[in-house]
Amino acid sequence: MSAAGPSQGARPPGGERREATLGGNHTTAAEPPQGARPPGGERREATLGGPAMTGLALAIAVALWWVGSSRLALDHGTDAARGAADALKTLWLVRGMALAMLSVRAGALYGWRRGAKGGLGLISLSWPVVALAWSASAASLTLVVLAELLLLAGSAALPLIGLFLRRWLRRVDFAVMAGTAIGTALAAALWVASGSTYMPLP
C-alpha cells in the first residue's frame, strides 16, 4: 500500500492533474504521485465518473417505475399523484443513501473537492425526474426544494467527514474503511428514519 497522497489542495509540479473516478482503487492511487504527469500532458477537468453514472442509473430506474405506474393509474382511472409522491420519496431516499455511502468514502480517498463533485453528480442527474414527479404529485414545492437542498448540503458536508477521518487516522486505508462504515451506518439510519412519521420526506 502506498502512503497517503499530498495534502488537500496540493498540486503536482506542472499543475497538471488527472483524477481517477471516485470508485477507483484507493490502496494504490489515492492521488497521483508527486511529479507524475498524465500522458499527453493536457489539463483535464475532474470527471464525475462513477457517482454520476450511479445517479443516472438511479434516475432511470425510478423514472421507468414512475412512468409505468402512471400509465397504469391513467388506464384504470385512479389518481396518479400517489405514484408520483412515491417516486419523489424513493428518489430522495435512494440518492440520500447512495450519497451517504459514497461521499464519506470519497472524501477520505480524494479529499473534499472531489468528494463534493461526485456527490453533486450523483444527485443532480435526477432533477428533471424530480421536477416531473413533483408536477404529478400533491407534494409541496417548498418541501421538495428543501429536500434537494438537504441533499446538496449532504454532498458538501459528507466528504468533510471522510477528510477528517483521513487526517485523524493518518492512513488512507483505515480512513476509507472507517468512512465506508460511517457511510453505511448513515445510509441505514436514513432508511430506518424514512419509515418514521416524523421524517418530512416529500
Partner: protein, 485 residues
C-alpha cells in the same frame, strides 16, 4: 371643549357609516324537503335581499364544491337562485358585500340510505312503498335544476301539485322524464299527460298515469321490477375517450430524450460545470415544455334513444388533461345541460350566472396526469326513425323511416355488428345477419352492453369535422334502439 368636539365628530362618523351599511337578508332552503341520497346531486334555493342597492357575493359550500355568484341587489327586490350542489350533509350558504357584514346560513340535508320516494299530493294520504323512504313534498320543494332529480328514485305527483309548478320546475321535470326518471302522475291534466308522454324516455315506460294512489303504488312496483338503462359510469367513458395517453406519451418522450442527452454528456463531456448544467437546464426545459404543450380538452357525448321517440337522452363528459401544477379556469359548455363535477371528491369552484340560472365557469387545481372531468346530462331532439323487417334467409331490411338522412353507422343485432351505409329518407338496405363482425372497440362494446336482448340498435359516430372548437377534441355517438323483428 376640543376633546368633546373630537368625540362628537367620531360619533357622527360612526353613525353615518352605520347608516350607509346595507343589511343583507339571506334565506336558504334545500330541495326535496331537505332529503337526498349519498353521492347524489341536489339543489339549494337561496333568497337574497338588501335594504339599499349593493353588490353582493354569494358562496354556497357543499363538501369540496363551492358555487359562487356575484349579484346586484336592489332595495325591495328579492333575488332568488336555485343553486345545484353536490350531496353533502352540511351546506354553508354565505353572502357578503364589501360594505356589509357577511351573513351565513347552515343548511342540513338528510342523506337517506334507502331509495327515496317523493310524494307531492295535496290530499296528504299516507304513502308507503316497501324499501323506500317517503318524502312529502309541496310544489316549491321540487327543484329547478334537472340534475337535482338524481336525489329521488321515484316520484308521485298529483294534478294540483303539477299545476303549481313554475316553468323552470316543469322544464326540469320534463328533462327528468326524458332521462327515464320514474314518475307516476295522479289524474293529470290531459295536456300535461300528453306532454310528459311525448318526453318520457325509455319508450315512455318511465312516465305512468294512475287514477288512484293504490294504482300509483302498484304501477311503481311493477316498474321497479324492470330495470331501465343505467347511467354510464366514468370508467366506461374513459374507455371511450382514452384520455391521458397524449400527455403520457409526451412525458415519456421528454424523459427518454433527457436520459439520452445526459448519457451522451456523461460519456463525451468531462467538464464538471457542463455536466451539472445538463440536468439543471433539462429541468427548466421540461417545465417550460409542459407549460407550452397543452393538449386539447376532450368532449365525449353519448346519446341514446328509442326509434320514433321525440327526444334522446345524452350524457356528456368534458375531460381536462392536466400537465402542470396550477390553477385552471374553464367555461362550462352552454350548449350542454346540468353541468356538475363527475367526482364528488374533486375540489372545484363554480361561478354561477345568476341571470341565466346556470353554472358559467369552473375553477380547479390541475397537475400532471390528473384528469378533471365535468359531467353533463340532458336531452336532445331525435329525428331518426329506423324500421327493420326480417326477411327469409337471415336477411334484415333496414329502412330509414324518418325525415332526415343518416350517415353510415353500425347495426347491432344478435351480438354482431353490421355496417350500415348512409341512407336518405325512405331508403333501405339489406343486412345479412350471419355476416356480422365481432367488434371489440369500446363504442361497439358499450352499445352492446346497453342494448336489451329483445332489441336491435343502430350506432352512429358523429363526423369529427363538425367540431368548431379546435381546443376541444369531440367524440359523439348516438345509439338508437328498435324492437327486434
Amino acid at each position: 371643549m376640543l376633546r368633546g368636539l373630537w368625540l362628537l365628530g367620531l360619533a357622527l362618523c360612526a353613525v353615518t357609516d352605520a347608516i350607509a351599511q346595507p343589511r343583507i337578508d339571506l334565506a336558504a332552503t334545500p330541495a326535496w324537503n331537505g332529503w337526498t341520497r349519498p353521492g347524489r346531486a341536489t339543489e339549494v334555493d337561496v333568497r337574497l335581499s338588501a335594504d339599499i342597492a349593493t353588490r353582493a357575493t354569494l358562496d354556497v359550500v357543499a363538501g369540496r364544491q363551492v358555487v359562487r355568484a356575484e349579484l346586484d341587489l336592489a332595495p325591495g327586490r328579492i333575488v332568488r337562485l336555485q343553486v345545484p350542489i353536490d350531496s353533502s350533509e352540511e351546506v354553508a350558504v354565505s353572502a357578503g358585500s364589501p360594505v356589509a357584514p357577511p351573513q351565513r346560513r347552515d343548511v342540513r340535508i338528510a342523506q337517506s340510505e334507502s331509495p327515496l320516494l317523493g310524494v307531492g299530493i295535496v290530499t296528504g294520504d299516507p304513502v308507503y312503498l316497501e324499501g323506500f323512504h317517503t318524502v312529502r313534498l309541496v310544489a316549491d320543494d321540487l327543484p329547478r335544476n334537472a340534475s337535482a332529480y338524481a336525489s329521488v328514485d321515484a316520484l308521485i305527483l298529483d294534478a294540483p301539485t303539477l299545476g303549481a309548478l313554475d316553468r323552470r320546475q316543469l322544464g326540469a321535470l320534463l328533462a327528468h322524464a326524458a332521462e327515464c326518471g320514474r314518475i307516476v302522475l295522479l289524474n293529470p291534466d290531459p295536456g300535461v299527460r300528453h306532454v310528459l308522454d311525448g318526453m318520457g324516455g325509455c319508450g315512455g315506460r318511465a312516465v305512468m298515469g294512475a287514477a288512484t294512489l293504490a294504482d300509483a303504488k302498484e304501477m311503481l312496483k311493477s316498474s321497479l321490477a324492470t330495470s331501465f338503462a343505467p347511467a354510464i359510469s366514468l370508467v366506461n367513458i374513459r374507455e371511450l375517450a382514452q384520455p391521458g395517453r397524449v400527455t403520457w406519451n409526451r412525458v415519456l418522450v421528454l424523459v427518454a430524450a433527457y436520459f439520452a442527452i445526459a448519457g451522451l454528456a456523461l460519456m463525451l463531456v468531462r467538464s464538471v460545470p457542463v455536466l451539472l448544467l445538463v440536468p439543471a437546464l433539462a429541468t427548466v426545459a421540461i417545465l417550460v415544455l409542459l407549460h407550452a404543450m397543452q393538449p386539447p380538452t376532450q368532449l365525449v357525448v353519448w346519446s341514446e334513444g328509442e326509434s320514433g321517440a321525440q327526444f334522446a337522452r345524452y350524457q356528456a363528459w368534458q375531460l381536462f388533461p392536466g400537465l402542470v401544477r396550477g390553477h385552471t379556469r374553464v367555461p362550462v359548455l352552454p350548449q350542454l345541460a346540468s353541468a356538475r363535477t363527475c367526482e364528488p371528491g374533486q375540489p372545484m369552484r363554480f361561478d354561477f350566472d345568476a341571470d341565466r340560472g346556470r353554472l358559467a365557469f369552473a375553477d380547479f387545481d390541475t397537475r400532471l396526469f390528473r384528469q378533471v372531468s365535468l359531467c353533463y346530462s340532458g336531452m336532445v331532439p331525435l329525428e331518426r326513425v329506423i324500421a327493420i323487417e326480417a326477411r327469409p334467409d337471415a336477411l334484415l331490411n333496414v329502412r330509414n323511416a324518418g325525415r332526415t338522412a343518416w350517415p353510415s353507422g353500425l347495426l347491432l343485432a344478435g351480438g354482431l355488428a353490421h355496417d350500415v351505409p348512409a341512407l336518405g329518407p325512405g331508403d333501405s338496405t339489406i343486412i345479412r345477419t350471419e355476416r356480422g363482425k365481432q367488434r371489440r372497440d369500446a363504442p361497439a362494446r358499450m352499445a352492446m352492453e346497453r342494448t336489451q336482448a329483445d332489441r336491435v340498435a343502430a350506432l352512429w359516430e358523429s363526423d369529427p369535422g363538425d367540431a368548431a372548437d379546435v381546443t376541444t377534441e369531440r367524440k359523439e355517438w348516438l345509439l338508437l334502439t328498435a324492437p327486434r323483428p
